[in-house]
Symmetry: D2
Subunit: 357 residues, 4 copies
């Protein structure tokens, strides 16, 4: 039966345990097994491949990754330019800022009595605790900064760049916001209104009329212009949420204004949500193909896993395997400090999509 021979070609290899295995060796061996182990190994291969390709890599970050202890891993990915553009929830940036300002998140337990925590001014995220009074201080710090800016609308990209700069000057500590600032990597936060950063901005406006104005529609235009200008793009999504769709819609929107764009060439997501309830977070990358979010011939993989479990292994392996591709990457230079963003020294048209001549 010839069909059978064609279908049964690559044997599953059994993982051989050994002392001294490094992250990249572990992932190499996981490439031979099945299920999510193999998927994570595939994610490693695809990321290496996209680093070697001349494309812009979007990184989407959702869930409580900063509070959960991954902010330096994310800062690493930014600083060494494994990624070119970040789309984040407000929470991940806020918790990053919290630690940059010298405060901590704390190890707790999901079984804690939440009434007692509330009485003690402690906020809980699953097994992680934070001091609510310190959070109020952050809010004020953000509000003060925002109130001091010229009273006009800012894209989240421009605001977060300025916030990152302020944070860097104030703390000199490495984190997501400061690494992005120092490496001129844009951060978009389309759902900034649904976060403590948004709350800080609203408090700025309360105290200083006209301040705290974020132009999230401008973010759509800028993120789309990145795709239009570069054309070759990749999407790395940790955790689903608004970042996942925002990165994808940039590709769809770009198609309206420029020919020959047909979805991200690479797509890699680490999610815990599932497809069968219809939500975007858990949707498959195959589904994304129907929309033109991901190219029909893209290299793609979904890893169904908690990011706190998958990213340490994946990023440690990349640290060993990516240096050469990173050196040879042909990277784009962004100009982020102005109202109008630029790429490789050329400004985007203001408030307009880059249209092909």
């Amino acid at each position: 039966m010839p069909d059978k021979r064609r279908l049964l070609q690559t044997p599953v290899e059994s993982f051989e345990v050994e002392s001294g295995l490094t992250a990249e060796k572990i992932l190499e061996r996981m490439g031979g097994i099945s299920f999510q182990g193999r998927n994570l190994a595939t994610a490693h291969s695809i990321w290496q491949k996209m680093l070697g390709d001349n494309c812009i890599i979007f990184l989407g970050v959702a869930g409580a990754l900063s509070a959960g202890g991954l902010r330096l891993a994310l800062a690493h990915l930014i600083s060494y330019r494994y990624v070119d553009c970040v789309v984040s929830t407000g929470a991940n940036l806020y918790h990053d800022l919290h630690e940059c300002r010298g405060r901590h998140h704390y190890q707790g337990s999901p079984q804690t009595d939440d009434r007692a925590l509330q009485a003690a001014h402690i906020d809980r995220v699953y097994d992680t605790l934070m001091d609510e009074d310190e959070f109020i201080d952050n809010d004020n710090w953000i509000a003060d900064f925002a109130a001091g800016l010229e009273a006009r609308p800012y894209t989240s990209r421009e605001f977060l760049y300025k916030l990152g700069g302020h944070l860097w000057r104030d703390t000199k500590r490495v984190g997501i916001l400061t690494a992005a600032y120092r490496n001129q990597i844009p951060i978009f936060c389309p759902a900034i209104a649904d976060s403590s950063i948004g709350m800080g901005l609203s408090q700025a406006r309360h105290s200083t009329p006209g301040s705290g104005h974020i132009d999230v529609i401008g973010d759509i235009i800028e993120s789309t212009n990145i795709v239009i200008r570069k054309r070759r793009t990749a999407s790395v999504v940790l955790g689903g949420g608004t970042p996942k769709n925002f990165i994808n819609q940039a590709s769809v929107e770009a198609e309206f204004y420029a020919n020959g764009i047909s979805g991200h060439r690479y797509a890699l997501q680490i999610v815990t949500d599932v497809p069968h309830f219809g939500g975007a977070s858990g949707s498959t990358l195959d589904e994304a193909r129907s929309w033109g979010k991901v190219a029909v011939d893209a290299d793609q993989v979904t890893v169904n896993a908690d990011v706190t479990l998958a990213l340490p292994l994946l990023a440690s392996a990349l640290a060993a395997t990516a240096p050469r591709p990173l050196e040879q990457r042909k990277i784009v230079t962004f100009g982020l400090g102005e109202r109008v963003m630029s790429m490789d020294g050329v400004a985007f048209p203001e408030g307009r999509f880059e249209v092909e001549p």
Copy 2:
């Protein structure tokens, strides 16, 4: 052993199957069983209770509920005033608008070949299909409407109210946006930039400089002012996502500016996400207590279920059991057509939190 007697008081009753059982009878019987069946019955009880209390009920809507066939059920909850204020993802409003404009979503299968769908200009959401060309037409319709508005920032609340009015005048069809418009129910969409409505707004700006400006930070202030002024609030969340946290943060923010506010008095969520990965969508309502999002003594329940399975039964039961509480509800009147929102005829302070004297 007296402890045992105290702990073992209410027997689980076995569900007795019978022909002719109506939704409310089924839920009544499900109140005696365990696991998610009992939780849905508890959700029914809590919703009835909150209708009988003098409180403002927030409804959060995430996931592909409109595309999935629940837009009229949601419009029903709005029209009959089971809820007072809606927080939604952009997708649910966009898909609602799509059908109000006389188009459809279609039944498909998750096993479809997405390359073929892409070639045929069909977009897929799990087992549901839509015509991409019709979507482009929606985008243009939204862009045209937005481009025609006075060029200034609009909260999503004001914009969506005007959009609902335009949609009603254009189509005379019932849906989420039109029911909210006709019943003067505010809709907030904090992550509007992450949706096709946001894309339409960005296209408006492309064609008409200065248009398509949404003030999402203003949304934070308005939603908070609702809590500050009414104080007694309830949260009904379908599907997690940005609406869940946005409703919760309104309660947290209100505490900063007014005394005696300590979280929603009632909290009910129907979610499929789980707590142990740390994301907000799956977080427990106990965890929300630590933050003061939900009152420590609130009536609360989480139903771990797909909304398309749980809501038809729950809403049908409420249709039978809620009419009397609905009649006796002391409802708030909103003024939504202006830049500054009003409650019971009294405007909120512009760009400021309502501060206690």
Copy 3:
């Protein structure tokens, strides 16, 4: 574009909420929506269809369904012959026996202090509690019964039939075991060793040498012979686990010994587990096709939902829509009281598969 028209044929209909909707009306309307709502409606249609077909319906039951309040719903399905053969975990039968013997399960909370429960001799299953001392009494009751049987191996089918008879004579109460006994429906429990019934049997052997012997390999032969003789079969699985695979393997095994058998003609499962971790509980019915467990052209549907949420609605709808098909069903008669099982008065070959002449 003709492809598009072919793919977009059946519009998703929005669920219209109304007072007085009965279970069958709700499911009828849910047939028009998407995701798990539509799947449950499809499950209803398929079950009706299989009742109208001349086939044997297997029912698999896993999870804590009896403790959770579904034992009478399951007994209803057995008594009215919605199903012809049951495959269950030991736990579901044990908890059924517990209530038949006049004891209860109790409503509790998942947040209870388990150390306190342990001290008070209370066992917990999520939000459900039981009295451990009553359980010990059940174990003794089972052990006494088993010790009194002739000392020889019993298939779980024969043992459970006898146990059901003893329970009926002792209690005259309706439940899974007693309904199956009174309606001559076989129950298989392939993993009986992994349950409190198994523990009771082991205690019988401790006290009475030679007793407590269950021949689970005999169960494989008997369940397969049912398929071989009837050929046309259906599989209804609630919760996955050993019952799911045991029902499926009967179909695969039957193929070895008889021509023209190629998997269950109908397959319906209500599960919460997911496919992407490779476990059998969450595996898709498509995957089952590759094995020949389910016919390649079978009517099949997976509902991703908690059984305590889905079954009350589904069984209540069937109670209204199934009576006529039930009346006209051409049912098989089983002889279950002897070592050798019979179908329609003809005994199976002892310890052998029914081989085609």
Copy 4:
């Protein structure tokens, strides 16, 4: 506020990415983060701790771990005596035997057309494929072996020991069954009737009357006697299912016959199932405390992850950190080749629980 200081003691540390990190270094750093990353690190610590304690370690194995490429990792845990007793599903042993016999599982895709697979005699487990004709050959091999044994009941422990011996002599290949045979580690398979091994046994009986008889109730007695005699026990569960409960019930049953036994002292599970639907696979280890399955003061952790993702990292780390504890382990010697099992040279009472004098 002193409470706050007490609750906020251990800061979450951010994972620092570095090239050259080995498994044990990665887990060490993951111990400082949150959610499932921290849980896996805790699993590593607990396993090390139990190796240093004088206890018997049960290993439960469910899901398609052997087919998925983990059989050599499991064989490693057995050979180096990280565990003392295995409880497995039949599938994991069958797939292990398949590869020991020189055949393979193959890498495939979950999107394959299952009708085509069925036509080509290929069976699918998510993304993994096997040759059905080779499976039939395995079944015959098992049947032949079983038919050649003396016609009497065998506990699954005795049968699998003999099967492992036969497999070793036949193939000289390392795997779960052969490693357990060579290291005198008992394997219990309480749900053997729900597997292809069970099918092979049923085929043996078909051909050779009186053969293929497995005494699964005897397995309960033997596994319980291990707990009674050793008293200090640990439970490592990969994937839930029947092994999880079988290991736990041994502890509960032991309490009936011996004083001072109160649950496993260590409990570690890697599962993907969740607690809120009431099934045993997803149940928490806290819940297990209420039953006395796990000691109220046990060291315990649940890792919510796919085993194919978690075990390679965990086992590789143990390979580096466990050698010294492994050397110093005071291990028990089992006698497995006879009808009556022995521990440290002393036979268990036949068909009876070891009762304290």
